[in-house]
Symmetry: C2
Subunit: 349 residues, 2 copies
Amino acid sequence: MSKDIVLALDVMGGDKGPPMVIRGANIARVRHPNLKFRFYGDKNLINKLLRRYKRLKPISSVYHTDEHVEDDLKPSQALRQRKKSGMNLAISAVRGGDADGIVSAGNTGALMAFAKLSLRTLPGINRPAMVSVFPTERGECVMLDLGANIDCDAQTLVQFAMMGEVFARNVLGVKKPTVGLLNIGSEELKGNETIRQAASMLRDADLPIEFRGFVEGNDIPAGTVDVVVTDGFVGNVALKTAEGVAKLYLEYMRSAFRRGLFSRMGFLLARPALRALRDRIDPRAYNGGTFLGLNGVAVKSHGGTDHKGFANALSVAVDMIEQDVNPKIISELRRLHLDEETNMNKVVV
Amino acid sequence: MSKDIVLALDVMGGDKGPPMVIRGANIARVRHPNLKFRFYGDKNLINKLLRRYKRLKPISSVYHTDEHVEDDLKPSQALRQRKKSGMNLAISAVRGGDADGIVSAGNTGALMAFAKLSLRTLPGINRPAMVSVFPTERGECVMLDLGANIDCDAQTLVQFAMMGEVFARNVLGVKKPTVGLLNIGSEELKGNETIRQAASMLRDADLPIEFRGFVEGNDIPAGTVDVVVTDGFVGNVALKTAEGVAKLYLEYMRSAFRRGLFSRMGFLLARPALRALRDRIDPRAYNGGTFLGLNGVAVKSHGGTDHKGFANALSVAVDMIEQDVNPKIISELRRLHLDEETNMNKVVV
């Protein structure tokens, strides 16, 4: 039987709040029978909700706090004024070894700030990145960073590439993940200095990575590579543009099927297929942005998600923990540094 | 009757080449009876094609050249080695006053470089931007820059905002276009210094612009604002991501309708509605990226488009010319500078 996994949950975060978190935990419990939970938030509310889930209660412990990180609070304010929030207490449980990972649907910036301060980055990693998984024509791909870092130097992008590769290999199960650097099409304008430098580092450093050079925006949904590397500004815009276009097309499709009797009949006939289509592009299936590069597992759920989406975020945390993603990142980095030293020696000798 | 408009066309550009260009011109001729064409390229090929279009021939003149800008040529090489290409000769016709605008489906970087060198930027404009129109939940929006400039300072972004506003008002016919600066969501990380500076300039400068502050990637397809302003790197990634996601969803839809007999029947019944849907998201309808800020009208058609798409790019050029977009940008800028001086005087006195 697999080892117990303890997740610390920020119960008060997310638009749909505590009922969504507790119900999501109950779904995850069925999927992962080795799960245990530590719930952080209003204990009366949590205990009342837990009464509904008879099998969840025995594997849960509840930690009360009155403090909560509001969605509009600046991370700097949160760091100063919300130290006893459920979010930070849950993170502290990971740091203290009482939990294997923390999941929150709350304020992204605050979660990032608390997690960075409390868990610190892995040895050899400059900055943590936010990573998530996208549906593509060929299956799925991983993209990072999605908004944790606006400006990234070349070395940071190279570290993102390595972390993304380890994530794709261990969480997505891709045997030999291919990696691309997000860039723009026009020849002369092939990226700025940072991107060109990162590309040459990835090309020349003899890393254990299948680096495929530059990719463009359309390569993300096309699935040209398994890992798309970019800075947090561009990654965040690409992510949100993709989500917005998906929403637009579903809206277009809905209105197409409302046109006239035949369309409605056609819709009824094709409904099972259309349901399958909707499930396939269900954003809840891709919920759970992980902070990669931290000395601990921290997963951010979409604030607007429901219990199903939150359960998927919990599964992302479980995968990260069970697949030993963090230890693997550390050993990859160590290997890289050893290789670098070996190469140096070659050059020196 | 409206004044004649002369378009200079780079016949050899685009994946589908001369037959696509000439056929597109023939479609545009019907739409805009005041159009005349100057075709630049292989004269034997062009004359042979023109024989098919009896009504196009009399309004066309043909200018022969053997030189052609290949798609993989660097702009710097094109500038040095392809001065007599159809692309550059067509641009020269605009500079010399023999044509009112130039349209090419060829090498984007080279087109930009030749156009910038030959036509120069409008007075008061630092850099030309590439602009295009997108379908949104509420209709259409304009986005710029789409790849002409990787790094933009705050002043350049403010100029883009003004040019985009004039474009939306005159080409899209929006009475009082709203303008947003593309940014990312997380509070602490609300953009870099440049974007924050551009926002404060747009807010404080008392411009004749409905500035709505920051927007995010999902606001583009949502139609939150009429004009989305960003640098060419982010704009290009957002544009191509949106195109890729659209393609992915059409593919998903196709495969959904192939599942089983009922789905196929449903598809047949709903086909007219689905055709309308396809037309609505037809990328050919949104073909034609305009270079804004040049001293002349230059439109870039998608390289992979067909005759219908190319005809739409020609219509974009016609709109730019008939709506006097460039003179209007100049007068807006003049007004802005006068305002600035007036404000300065106020401050000084």
